[in-house]
Symmetry: C2
Subunit: 465 residues, 2 copies
């Protein structure tokens, strides 16, 4: 390392763009080099990038360019690039790699990372790869794959440091210095009893500040959070966020330490779960990603649109009940979407807050009744407010005060129903063990459309004819 | 520590409920104890809980109970409970604490945590508290507050370990053992030049496995990610996720090391930002939380509903253009919500995917054109599919083939428009420097409503009369 002019070595970043290298110019340059078959040019462009940046580049490139990139990189394609990818982008890259190249990478990876790669392959290819992996690594990966999807067992890595409580700080440090096969990264030392059950843990910074003769039992944190191997990953991520964990020991059914989950795994799950809520509330399958082909995207979105078509036809049938009324007072056709739309929007607001609050455990059985009551009150207050507004607009627009009263009453009713439905639907789905985001929006808008049209047109038929 | 029967000490958790203590029974028991003014009972119930769990309990309790809880705990209320809270719940608890109690807590906190508490107070109360904080801590907190909201400066803590590159591993370990005032937690040692600029960092696990005489310059990671102090917190969180950082050095405009941001701060931001997208897409202010009063909730939601009312009236005006047509063919009033609703739903799907992809930088200027093209194709394919379906339904329902053709054509047009609007709106907002989630939904549904009603009723007026 050149230390002659240390002040010259540093180019302090002043903005995000100085730190994160993937920008439009880079993408265009890579596309141009790939189009010209300039493998050397591609290598030069990618040389300064970190694996995670090359992964981002692969996501932004089109499908053909992505494959050409993988071919151009060949054996230089870092496996750390692959572990940051998923779905169709990962599949595209794995497809151009030989089973041999993937197999060679497996032993370098943490168990959870290797499992992530193999999860994405079909069974035949997975066999081909695994047959080429050294036996001990193969056993670890196969055991990882044996745990249920989305469980702690899939998230954990098996490499960790576990020592008995009677060891001293000095012994641990010497052990770390003398052992070749330590985990790539670790943040805590786990303390185990003779039956290999975790009884405490010591953060590295505590080891650093403690003198060599001190025993681990004197400095270990005994109240550490322990994760059963079959815990759902959503619960794991919640515990990491809740207790600001750096890493946590995973135990099997006999209470033995079998692995460790680290904060970065939990952060990824947390983001996935938040994204899943968002996607599900908007009727998008969480299986899809931006890089899917148009055909695949069309197919995954169509199923939800079909459900929506069903509910839209149901709403139309409610309107059809009152076709004679509409024929006489065409203003009803003009105004009716307002009632449905305001109910739908107020309900969606409530629904979204409730779904997130369930995910973060701010909404539980313990306070459900109070929250439902509050949303009912909010619906009523906003209902009255907007009923007055809409009633006035309608009365003046069509010069018919009774029409104003009718739409105002319909509005209050629909917005109270929206507040109720917006809380009760996700609470009910959650109680039934179903993700409260799934199908919640379609339930809700069906209710607000049907109630909105029925009450408005029904009151009109009663009082305006 | 009792080591006689180590195997008896362990109760291995087997489920989430064994690890996370806040459940309905506990909440009910605390409510009962508070109602009976059993301060002792409350203390006993809370004794086994960690600070983050007491924070969750405070969130789930009603407002009155929450205040009573804070009064019952008095000086036993751990400040670590407060730093996990925000918004109205934090305000409720701070309101019953004396400025003296808050001030006493400040020096125990990391800078970013102290700043978080003080951010939530009004100026007068903040003054009262700060006047009671010891001068050095006060200076640190005031400097933290001087950085723009949502900047790296607000997130960082100032306590860190920075040493020169010529130090050996042994020197660092001795320094940590001999120094009283180390940060509470740390994961990396930062290496600085004589001008206090960071030139590298060393993870603790690397220090642990390296022998004492080795110099830091030989083992430090020189390519570390450095964060400018005024970087937006969303960009900071992205970099942590991108490079799986444990902690990162923060530098001032002169490139000097001024603080450190840790993974847990970044994880919180990441979750906040995902939640903000979700809330904004559903028309909920991200300032609101579940514990707000009904009145405050009504107010924050009303502004968005008012915008929605405007667009709903706009859609009604489009319908009113064709009132004569509807008067003659009432089937149009029955069918028209289907066209608008299908367009709105298809557009929302596209919009949601685009907003998330912008946030995760999967959608950038570099691939915008390709993605817009793809969404156009998806809109066209699903448009044709559902046009056929709806056309057949309409033709048979009203026994009028031309009506089926009219609604089918309107459907294709509206779904293509929805695909275009669903990508172009967030891309346009992002280009203009506005959060693409803000107001995107209302823009979109205005377009799909107006286009849906206009094209369907317009075609009907042309071809069915």
């Amino acid at each position: 390392m050149n230390e002659q002019h240390p002040q010259d070595q540093i180019e302090a970043p002043t903005s995000f763009e100085d730190v994160y290298a993937v920008n439009t110019e880079l993408v265009r340059a890579v596309e141009a080099a790939l189009a010209d078959d300039l493998d050397g040019g591609v290598h030069d462009l990618l040389a300064p990038l970190r694996p995670a940046d090359i992964a981002d580049l692969a996501v932004v490139l089109g499908r053909e360019d992505r494959r050409r990139l993988a071919l151009a990189l060949g054996d230089d394609l870092d496996v750390d690039t692959l572990i940051d990818l998923e779905g169709s982008v990962l599949a595209d890259l794995l497809a151009v790699m030989s089973p041999h190249a993937v197999a060679r990478a497996i032993p370098e990876l943490d168990t959870d990372e290797a499992v992530h790669l193999l999860e994405e392959m079909d069974a035949a290819r997975r066999e081909q790869v695994l047959a080429r992996v050294p036996a001990p690594d193969r056993a670890a990966v196969l055991e990882g794959l044996s745990f249920p999807e989305d469980s702690a067992g899939r998230l954990m890595q098996r490499d960790l440091i576990a020592v008995p409580a009677y060891w001293s700080v000095g012994q641990v440090i010497d052990y770390c210095r003398d052992t070749e096969e330590l985990p790539d990264e670790f943040y805590e030392i786990f303390v185990i009893d003779p039956r290999h059950r975790p009884i405490g843990q010591v953060a590295l910074n505590r080891l650093m500040r403690t003198r060599r003769p001190v025993l681990l039992r004197e400095i270990m944190e005994a109240e550490a959070t322990t994760i059963p191997v079959d815990m759902d990953q959503e619960e794991v991520a919640f515990l990491f966020q809740q207790y600001r964990l750096t890493s946590a020991p995973v135990i099997d059914n006999a209470g033995r330490l079998v692995g460790v989950i680290t904060f970065d795994d939990a952060a990824t799950v947390l983001e996935e779960e938040a994204e899943e809520d968002l996607m599900r509330l908007s009727g998008v399958s969480s299986e899809t990603d931006l890089s899917d082909t148009a055909l695949r995207t069309t197919r995954t979105r169509a199923s939800w649109l079909l459900v929506n078509l069903g509910t839209a036809i149901l709403a139309s049938m409610v309107i059809a009940l009152f076709d004679a009324t509409i024929e006489q007072i065409v203003a009803l056709a003009v105004l009716m979407p307002i009632v449905a739309s305001m109910g739908g929007n107020a309900g969606t607001q409530t629904l979204t807050v409730a779904v997130r609050a369930l995910a973060t455990r701010e909404l539980t059985a313990a306070n459900a009744l109070r929250i439902v009551g509050k949303e009912l009150a909010v619906g009523a207050m906003n209902g009255v407010l907007f009923a007055l507004l809409v009633g006035l607009v309608a009365a003046f627009w069509f010069d018919q005060p009774t029409l104003g009263v009718v739409i105002a009453v319909a509005m209050v009713i629909n917005m109270v129903v929206a507040g109720l439905a917006g809380t009760l639907i996700p609470l009910g789905l959650d109680r039934a063990g179903i993700d409260p985001a799934i199908a919640a929006t379609v339930f809700l808008t069906t209710i607000t459309d049907v109630v909105g049209f029925f009450v408005f047109l029904g009151l009109a038929a009663l009082f305006l004819l």
